[in-house]
Symmetry: D2
């Protein structure tokens, strides 16, 4: 039966009616203010009720960035919204006369990819959502791994480099600081300082060095053939591949799928990730091994996954 | 119903009848030659049949070090025995008239600990078997995680340090090279070169520096209060705690249990592991978190777990 | 004979008449604007001429942060002032009727320490100026090592950690990012995120977390006995000791002297540096080794060293 | 005037008469037993006296691996010969009626290269002797830097990777473990385990994996175009370049010269070293910078340098 998925982002919410095949049949999007939790809730309630008015739905799944409670009824901690031990379901319930579950947004996107995207024929999968940060979802034996405390799949905070780059979480060397859009942007800005001549194409695209440089400038330059930009994407891909080999050692999934905005770089990211994975995996040739792919679903993955998780 | 568990080690095999409560009711042990697979199979068959003659059993579980086939019927690769894509079940079946399953030894030990030891009240758990190497087992939602290719839980080959210590697997910086008996021994030998004065107690216990120093000398010295030995165990524990925080980010289990020979150091290993975990875990205080414990079962864990996995 | 030393800082210049014994006999200080090179030069000229009016002097030494030309007549690059291949001597000469030499500020401070401070009885020495950044000076065979391109002693940009913390220079893992006031501040801010409970004393002293925390809060908390602050200083000291062991392997000086604002932490910094050095130095016990000390001179070291280098 | 240089290796000694232009005019070589210091001394005395009988010489320089006393009269510690605080000059003097100085072998080779080889027009230079290990020599202002304790230029024990590969010195992550023939050999052996297919050419040349693989097999395979071998040499070169950038930050020499047996790989080593140096050097473009070259002198560099240092 159809369900509604809601994806609460930093500056807007998106809601959609999703059918059993993962198709989004109707959508609503509203801008929101991350500093105003009440306004966010109002927007969610409004969008859900608008969609319900036109579609028969069984449940609502709400996805957001952060740590979800093990009972899937609230947010323990969110990085972008002032939610701390926040009973989100309880807050939404009076306005929504349907079962509601709360999900981590990367888990929702990964679940969508598993059910309806690249992983639809797989039994197990890890999803890497390479956006500003690095989110993850782990599916084993056909089920989303949520963890004992709702925190499974927080792969971006696996440590890759002792005494490595500072992460916003207060620790050092987190995978996210090497394998994310933020890492790409920072690497490009550093290159503009360390070797401005090699970084000329990126600097020109960005209209200057420093804060003007954003991740998409690197991707754009790389797609135009700029050697430094290609190299920066390859480094990012190499860090992804290295971490995927760790996931293979621990979880041993059937496949790894790379999605998120940075994945739009396509083969420029994917091939270095594959090569790096091949170099890092222990006992290669003596064990079966996962394959690495680009995600098939796009922006709507969060909506689709949240809806699908709500009805299962 | 009772089942037989067999633990194939480097130089001997042990088999036992295990009841539903995880109690070993009878045992057989035979020395074996790791270079002679046929002799190993004969010893397994003999031990099983001797035990069967006196006990009613439903199945046989056989545990060994290495990569097990996803079908649990053979060894894809073993580090100590010349098994490569080896149909171990097919080889044993003519001599054993019972259902047989093959398991990884660390998985078997971890499963025993989960079912009958420290994890018996838990829903999920990671087990670290800190022996010569570093083995692992991961249990989620009450089930052993085997992985798509039978290689889940090979935590010892997660990379901790890029360009780090060489591992026997041909890669660098594997967790095993920092969190195992081998790492402890090597650290003690290095200390004997780098600062022989601080290493005096260990050198004396060992009867000399170099190859004479073994892991148990460090544990013994530490238990007698030697500052360097205590520090070496604390470093090992710190690496364990750091890696456990990675597992918490990925799998988010309810608890981590440390077993294996090195775990006999007890609190000298456990407390530094806990402290290091606390320092490494991202979002501490904003998320629930696992607890770290010493294993309760000893040497027989492999037998118990193999037997129990055979009947489930 | 007396000479004048000038220390050009980020927001002020200080000039002083220095006698043969390293005593500052008269001083002038003027605020300056780092974005206005002309105003800086005017202030230098004014201060020098005021001092000259009252003292007989032989030469003027001018110290500033950045890369000095090998001919000691200009700044090739300055981090804080818009000097690029800047002929500073030529700019000052019309207003100052005396020989002028340009020096790197850390070199000047190190030279003062060598001639009149902790190193006055030594033949060779490395100086670590641990301020916001990490500057260095190397003296061998009684002479300041300037390098073939005027860039010797830029120890803060020796790489300590591959893929380590981003440095403002565009590279990663520079020693300065681990052994400087900036590193201390950043570590304290990270600790306030990662473990706010342990960081409570520092947060209270600073009046809040984040940007409110400055290096001196850590030193102050440490001197009051706060365990985390003591630990953060000890980590900084440990990184200093590790790098000093590298300098011992390369340059093998008689002593290392730690100065700069962070050195005011005294033994809380010095003892961990010594201990770390002892642990890192290769062939300890089989070779003579440097000793590590705190600097004896304070803020005036730059003036004193610049003046002394001008007359030699 | 002519002088005699002696190079004491692990299994033989070589002595030669060297003229003012660095030309070896006569030579003697004798096999020796590293476990028999008395026999080594006899061989040295014999070779020197044979050469003296036919040539007029002013002094004798004796070079060996290890830490030389600051007075240049003995060996404080040698890695290969049982010398500890050994008065080598005093032991040789009764048999040799000439002034004798003791030198570190890498210093001798570097000095020869500076005086008569690639550095003959330079004022300052660092020499990297990439043999089994990684030795160094530093020349500043035309003089060999010996250090306060005779240990300058021990660059192989600068730490490149915290918690990195174990070094024979008892520490971890020493540059020697990444930039030496031993590192190359070990990397090739590891590759043969980690990816035997890619390592096929090297394995075939060596006649098998494991201990059969030696450094020259890699060089030979690389020169024949084998991709893995080229990559392994490039990695070695990259580590050399990274460390040279550290030396540039500290000592800032005019040039770096790479010699020793591994340097026979030529451009396959040199070009990656240059590229890596360019990527690692801070403030590139804002400061003058060293150039990197291959050594011009071969095996006789130790003899030539020891002789030349004896007469200066």
């Amino acid at each position: 039966m159809d369900a509604i998925g809601v994806d609460i982002g930093g500056t807007k919410i998106a809601a959609g009616v999703v059918d059993d095949a993962g198709v989004v049949r109707a959508q609503r999007r509203y801008d929101t203010d991350p500093t105003d939790p009440v306004a966010i809730e109002s927007a969610v309630i409004r969008a859900v009720n608008e969609l319900r008015a036109e579609h028969q739905v069984a449940a609502v799944g709400v996805a957001a960035a952060g740590y979800v409670s093990p009972q899937r009824d609230g947010m323990v901690f969110a990085p972008n919204i002032a939610w701390r031990d926040y009973p989100l379901r309880e807050r939404l319930a009076p306005g929504i006369d349907l079962p509601i579950v709360i999900e981590n947004d990367a888990n929702a996107a990964g679940w969508a990819e598993f059910r309806f995207g690249r992983g639809r024929h797989a039994e197990s999968m890890v999803m890497l959502t390479v956006g500003t940060g690095l989110g993850g979802a782990i599916i084993v034996d056909g089920r989303l791994l949520r963890g004992a405390f709702g925190a499974a799949g927080e792969i971006g905070h696996m440590q890759m480099v002792p005494s490595g780059r500072y992460c916003g979480c207060g620790h050092e060397g987190c995978w996210e600081m090497y394998g994310s859009g933020r890492a790409l942007t920072r690497a490009a800005r550093a290159a503009a300082v360390a070797y401005p001549d090699r970084a000329r194409a990126i600097i020109e695209l960005a209209g200057g060095p420093g804060q003007k440089i954003k991740g998409p400038h690197v991707t754009q330059a790389a797609q135009a053939g700029d050697p430094l930009a290609i190299e920066l994407l390859a480094e990012l891909g190499a860090w992804l591949g290295a971490g995927i080999s760790d996931l293979a050692a621990i979880v041993d999934p059937e496949m790894a799928v790379i999605g998120g905005g940075v994945a739009e770089a396509g083969a420029l990211l994917l091939e270095p990730a594959r090569e790096s994975f091949n170099r890092h995996l222990t006992a290669r040739g003596f064990r079966g091994e996962l394959t690495i792919h680009l995600a098939e679903l796009g922006n709507e993955a969060g909506i689709v996954g949240a809806a699908d998780l709500a009805r299962t």
